[in-house]
């Protein structure tokens, strides 16, 4: 566990009497992309500030890059894009990056290359001499991402990195995150854009009202896919389908869960071979958004219950020849 980039246990933060974060545990390994998901005000940014030492935890312990929380030396190897990306408007893009090279105490001889590389990655080489205040909001966010990439940090923390970007920019950010993972850097992606998190994150922690209410890999969280089948003309459809997985009777058909979707043609063939008629074959994959909305709206316990599918492996009631409604 000692090679973890981020390790935090029981992090708690109170602002006055308001609990911003409570009992948060985090573990991020090198080359891992962790998504912190949560609605507005869930405590994501507070968690990031605690990791960066910008705020002090009320309780809990942790380390970043092998140093205790709040140790400034760790920040030399961290790149950070704040949610509120504001930089001195009178500086040019190149001057801003140079300023951060100095603040990060990077070796002077590397500044020029680091700056050109960062500007190239975020697509702003042609605007290097423009004042920050003259750049569009999206370009300022790209520039902020460039600032976070200076010095090839071992940990990159991106707080809502695509909030001002167009779809092309968002795709670029995904590519940058993958590249960071590829060179072994750990990334913490703070976002409420579920699709973004789903596409790039290895692990996800869902935070709600300051508490982690679910965590795991995206695959673990969303679970295995299912296949919904609407059939008629079979006396015992469950016996035909159960070889593909546990079968559940639903209002609008039968649900095979979990199901290897590559075997869908076999399901079709089996129903036809048994003399049945197929009205619908629908692969079902719960999305992170489904899970997220359920968790946030209904609370953890209810959501878990709702997503736990009632598995039936025995015969179900006599099917009807009528097509399902």
């Amino acid at each position: 566990m000692s090679d973890l980039v981020v390790r935090a246990t029981g992090l708690r933060k109170l602002y006055g009497h308001r609990t911003a974060l409570d009992s948060l545990d985090l573990a991020v390994a090198p080359g891992q992309v962790l998504g912190l998901l949560g609605p507005n005000g869930a405590g994501k940014t507070t968690a990031v500030k605690l990791l960066l030492g910008l705020a002090r935890p009320t309780a809990g312990t942790g380390s970043v890059l092998g140093l205790p929380l709040g140790d400034r030396r760790a920040r030399q190897r961290i790149g950070y894009l704040p949610e509120l990306f504001r930089y001195p408007a009178w500086l040019t893009a190149r001057e801003l990056l140079r300023l951060h090279c100095r603040l990060a105490d990077l070796p002077r001889g590397t500044w020029s290359d680091q700056i050109d590389q960062a500007l190239g990655i975020v697509g702003l080489l042609g605007r290097a001499g423009d004042r920050v205040g003259d750049l569009s909001k999206g370009m300022q966010q790209r520039l902020g991402l460039g600032v976070a990439l200076l010095g090839e940090p071992d940990l990159v923390i991106l707080d809502e990195p695509t909030s001002a970007l167009d779809p092309v920019g968002r795709d670029d950010v995904r590519a940058i995150i993958r590249a960071l993972r590829g060179r072994g850097a750990a990334v913490i992606l703070n976002s409420h854009l579920l699709g973004e998190v789903e596409r790039v994150c290895d692990e996800v922690v869902i935070v709600h009202r300051g508490r982690a209410i679910a965590s795991g890999s995206v695959r673990q969280l969303v679970g295995a896919p299912s296949l919904r089948v609407a059939v008629a003309g079979l006396a015992d459809p469950v016996s035909v389908l159960r070889r593909f997985g546990p079968v559940t009777l639903e209002q609008d058909g039968l649900l095979i869960h979990p199901m290897e979707l590559e075997r869908t043609p076999e399901v079709v063939a089996a129903v036809i071979a048994a003399g049945g008629r197929l009205f619908a074959v629908e692969p079902v994959q719960r999305s992170l958004e489904d899970l997220f909305l359920q968790l946030v709206r209904t609370g953890v316990t209810e959501a878990t219950e709702q997503f736990r599918l009632p598995v039936m492996t025995g015969p179900v009631g006599p099917p009807t020849d009528e097509p399902p409604s």
Partner: protein, 288 residues
Amino acid sequence: MSIRAILVITELTLREVLRRRLLWVLLGLSAVSVLFVGWVVTQLVAQARDSGMDEARVMLGVSQVLVIIAFMFSFVLAMSGAFLAAPAVASDVESGVALAMLARPISRADLVLGRWLGLSLVTGGYAVVSAALAIGVVALVSGYVPPDPVTAIACLVGQSIATLTLALALGTRLPSMSAGAIAVVAFGGAWLGGFLGSVAGLLRAQAIVPTLDIVRFLFPTDLLWRGVIHGLEPPIIQLLARGVDRGSYAYDPFVALTPVPTEAVLWSIAWIVLVLAGGVLAFRRREL
């Protein structure tokens, strides 16, 4: 705390002031003011000499004009210092600029001290150039050279740094407008305390003098203001003050018969250090 980081922030502050052309605007306005003052003093001196006034009285009059100019200038410096320093940290926090910088391996003290050093250099440099220009122009057109212009300018610089320090320290916790306004009011209050102290002395209202001294002690710009006056007024004031008219000179708010006591200078320096330290501590405890 890191000297390297402090100097990075200092340089950033200096470049910001230069880039925003604020310093050049202030210097330009000062140059215009000094030229105007030079013209006025030329006219007054010529008029006085034509009327047959003896040279000692002319020089005394010019010295009083110079003190009044310094008085106005000290207010300009205090206002400039307060309005430059109040948003120095406060705006960084309000805008979010501080967040990106403090995520680097620098401390909050580095940010506050770097801002303070940069602004002190700007304000101090501006004070030295403008005051030297005013004294030089007056000397050129009237022939009056103050006895201790270096001390006078040093005390002006001290006044402006004290005001900007208070504004910057308050800005670590308060919104920039509040911090600037409080610093300017404190400067005015201290001067008023000194002025009323003189009036109280003149009226022999000794009972309220200690209270007014406390006001001057709490914000020591008026102590330094006495140093400005003493450095600018001619030795003839000392001679006059030894005569029968001593009482009125002793309590004149625009006359200082004695130099600033060393204790007052030391207290002013200590005050700046304490207020700055308070600002650093307040900023360290602030939730960003």
